[in-house]
């Protein structure tokens, strides 16, 4: 115990350095160790292994398609959150909110564009990512289950996009969802019941808008985020990105 070394003056002098050190929790180590600590010492980066195979870095192998899908998801979460500040899930107000976003809200039109185009892009990139995984045979053992999670992520992406499609409450939205919900009613036995539960009634109206809104902004994004976490986790548990076996 070196109590003599402690002084309040010294603490104040050292304040910025001590705060920085308490956050990063790093210090003495070789360059190699520091680089490793940068990954496993960080909550957001530690999904990554400390070292990756050089094959995972080959842009011509993955084209970064999965990563692009994830980035689009992040952009969608951020822009969607901002859009929620100006949107009301009501048949009276929804369309007027759209017009407000277009003409009144600062950056509103760009925000809506970002959300809409990212959503289209995400569907496309998730599909392309699936094609990449198929053509490189990356769903084979031991990665079978991660492929299954990926299929569910594709479905969640499609549902997210479909539920979001109704929210502007314009003609495009109304009739696309009318047609979509009627397709569900062709399901044997349960069809009409599923449609009734999906719309919360017999026709596309206030209840349907509210249900689609709740699914779109809470339920499905949470499901997607959870599945994404498992998807990333399984990449490492299944031995990293796939690569030729004879290397």
């Amino acid at each position: 115990m070196s109590e003599s070394a402690y002084s309040i003056k010294e603490s104040i002098m050292q304040l910025p350095r001590n705060i920085k050190a308490s956050i990063s929790r790093r210090g003495e180590g070789t360059a190699e160790q520091e680089r490793a600590a940068a990954v496993f010492g960080n909550m957001f980066l530690h999904v990554h292994p400390v070292r990756v195979h050089v094959n995972s870095l080959r842009a011509g192998y993955t084209f970064g398609l999965g990563l692009i899908s994830f980035y689009l998801f992040l952009i969608l979460v951020a822009s969607g959150l901002l859009l929620m500040f100006y949107y009301t899930p009501s048949t009276e107000l929804a369309y007027r909110n759209m017009k407000d976003l277009e003409y009144v809200v600062t950056f509103g039109v760009i925000l809506r564009n970002v959300h809409r185009w990212s959503a289209h892009a995400m569907v496309a990139f998730v599909f392309l990512h699936m094609c990449r995984v198929f053509y490189t045979g990356s769903y084979k053992a031991p990665r079978e289950f991660n492929w299954v999670i990926g299929v569910f992520l594709l479905l969640v992406t499609l549902f997210l996009s479909f539920t979001g499609y109704l929210l502007p409450w314009d003609q495009l939205a109304f009739w696309a969802v009318t047609v979509g919900s009627n397709i569900a009613s062709y399901m044997p036995v349960l069809g009409d019941y599923v449609r009734f539960l999906m719309l919360g009634g017999n026709e596309v109206g206030q209840m349907a808008l509210l249900r689609f809104y709740v699914l779109h902004v809470v339920a499905l994004p949470l499901l997607a985020a959870t599945l994404l976490g498992v998807h990333f986790w399984r990449i490492r548990k299944d031995g990293g990105l796939s690569r030729p076996s004879n290397d």
Binding site: R51, N113, Y135, A141, V151, W169, Q171, I183, P188
Partner: protein
């Protein structure tokens, strides 16, 4: 408890003699190479990831500044649009639905999803992992390509070749 299977990794050749020649102080031949051809995630992987994120964000922002998201007139349950089209990724399904609602709208999508889910358990051929269009799995590649091309063609027909009353028309004819 089963005894672990004992297997020598480098079995001794009885025709040879072995001896330790020397111990040298210094770096191994693996310096700057890492075990099993790996590199540090930071910075090699993460700098690339950050670059890709900035690229994605820039492209999305650029597109959003140039093109406005479509917004039609307010929903009116009394007048259906002509033609009423689903979002582009469902237009392929809608094209199938225009032939038969049960077959195109329920049976085909269900078949697609089920076969996608079962795919890794049916295709147990261990060859061809990690290589694009591996020659060892030509059949799988061809089948999947047929599926992708069919989806793309259906989407293109539905999106660009279907006009009022869902009649076929050519995009340049009015």
């Amino acid at each position: 408890m089963q005894a672990a299977k004992k297997e020598e990794i480098f079995p001794k050749d009885p025709n040879k003699t072995y001896s330790l020649m020397a111990i040298v102080d210094g770096d191994s031949f693996q310096v700057e190479k890492g075990p099993e051809d790996t590199v540090q995630s930071w910075p090699h992987l993460m700098v690339r990831e950050l670059g890709l994120f900035l690229l994605v964000l820039a492209v999305i922002l650029g597109v959003s500044l140039l093109f406005n998201a479509p917004l039609e007139e307010a929903a009116n349950p009394q007048h259906s649009t002509n033609p009423a089209k689903a979002p582009w990724y469902f237009v392929g399904i809608q094209e199938l639905v225009s032939y038969s609602a049960l077959l195109g709208g329920i049976v085909t999508p269900a078949l697609i999803v089920v076969s996608l889910l079962l795919l890794p358990y049916l295709d147990r051929n261990p060859k061809g992992t990690g290589v694009w269009f591996s020659r060892d799995r030509r059949v799988a590649t061809i089948l999947f390509t047929i599926f992708v091309v069919a989806m793309v063609i259906l989407i293109l027909i539905g999106q660009f070749l279907r006009g009022p009353n869902w009649h076929l028309y050519l995009p340049w004819s009015n």
